[in-house]
Amino acid sequence: MGLQSLTLHINGEKRVVNVRFADTLLYALRGNLGLTGAKPGCLNGDCGACTVNVDGWPMKSCLMLAVEAVGKEVTTVEGVKGEPIQHAFVENFAFQCGYCTPGFIMNCRSLIQHHPDADDAKVKEWLESNICRCTGYAEIQQAVKSVINKE
């Protein structure tokens, strides 16, 4: 027991972290690596604020143990640089307080990669996973659609 030394692949880099087996990926990202883009909102898999990408899929990092991420490619919002979805969120006013935003961006990004031509039902199926308490979702919908239609 105690601390374990794990090697994680994060945003294209190998990072060694000393964590407990009982620590979540979210905890390791924020507490050990200073990557505070993924946010804790519930630690229960409910809100999506902690969403990152693992091997290209959206993942609630509070639902994954850090040790489970060994050998996988983890991307956090800090590793997403100037992608269309980020600009789309800005231009469409798709956030207010911004707390849910990293999670939404990571989910949207994965959605666009897997389903570049997603229809409304697909978008809804994916984006139901995150809560935004500030917006009424209309702007988020516009932002996502603006990228889907372009690609």
Partner: protein, 279 residues
């Protein structure tokens, strides 16, 4: 963040997993099999689950199997619900599964975890109960295969050190007429108020239900009532409502009375959908 520490093992094959469990038990530990780990994390966080040794079975090839093998569709217990939906080999399962939790969470929640979990909805078991699927389990006594409706009595009845490896479903039961409806307290997200899944096989409608009682079930008596010849839909549904298992849930999602009202409507909808279809 879990308030307790544990060791973490990732066995590469079935025997290793079973052996680890046995060994840990013998040394006085409280081992636990996990696959998706979501329940370990979320219930562990609030002191509803404890273990000091985690055996993660998701690397075991048998637990990841997905596809047809002879006359059977084989689905490994460590498959995530998303993986099952993407493959879409069992349309009823795809439908029922796609209403569980949310899309991102389903990328982590596994079939075995949902069926064996403490959170009592266990919606993913419904299609298997209906399709007379078989459960492949392994434990200290080796591999066993059971019909799931024998093994699943409110929960999957597993002995000490046993775990679910796969579910095998007769190919002929996979592509039959079906309907799956999830009703929630309000709108389109949240736990089920009631989820009802139904299949039509050999002219008979089969129904399995989650959210009505603190366990999912399929009931022969209900099915007998529903399929009774020569009665009106109304009478068949009423008859089915008289033979429900106990207790009916009465909680924050809905009162027992209201659940019965919802169930009645759901049964009507199921009959409306499946009555006329030949199978």
């Amino acid at each position: 963040m879990l308030p307790f520490d544990f060791d973490y093992y990732r066995p590469k094959n079935l025997q290793e997993a079973v052996e680890l469990y046995r060994h840990l038990r013998q040394s006085g530990r409280q081992p636990m099999y996990i696959s998706g780990a979501t329940e370990l994390i979320t219930l562990g966080r609030i002191d509803l689950v404890f273990t000091d040794a985690v055996i993660d079975i998701k690397d075991i090839p048998e637990c990841r199997e997905i596809g047809f093998d002879g006359d059977y569709l084989v689905l490994g217990s460590a498959l995530t619900l998303t993986a099952i939906e993407e493959a879409n080999l069992f349309p009823l399962l795809t439908k029922t599964s796609s209403e569980i939790a949310d899309h991102t969470a389903r990328g982590k929640i596994t079939l075995g975890g949902n069926i064996c979990g403490q959170i009592f909805y266990r919606e993913a078991v419904l299609p298997f109960l209906l399709a007379d699927s078989q459960a492949v389990i392994i434990g200290p006594e080796g591999v066993k295969v059971h019909y799931i409706d024998e093994l699943f009595q409110k929960t999957l009845q597993l002995g000490n050190g046993e775990f679910l490896v796969q579910l095998a479903t007769d190919k002929r039961h996979v592509d039959v007429p079906f309907i799956s409806i999830k009703r929630r307290q309000q709108w389109e997200t949240g736990y089920p108020l009631i989820t009802a899944a139904a299949l039509k096989i050999g002219g008979e409608i089969r129904v399995a239900i989650s959210g009505l009682c603190p366990f999912p079930f399929r009931s022969n008596q209900m099915e007998a009532a529903i399929n009774r010849d020569g009665l009106s839909v109304e009478n068949r549904v009423s008859a089915a409502l008289t033979v429900l298992p106990e207790p009916i849930l009465n909680d924050i999602e809905g009162s027992a009375d209201y659940r019965l009202f919802v169930l009645q409507n759901l049964l009507n909808d199921i009959l409306a959908e499946l009555d006329g279809i030949n199978s």
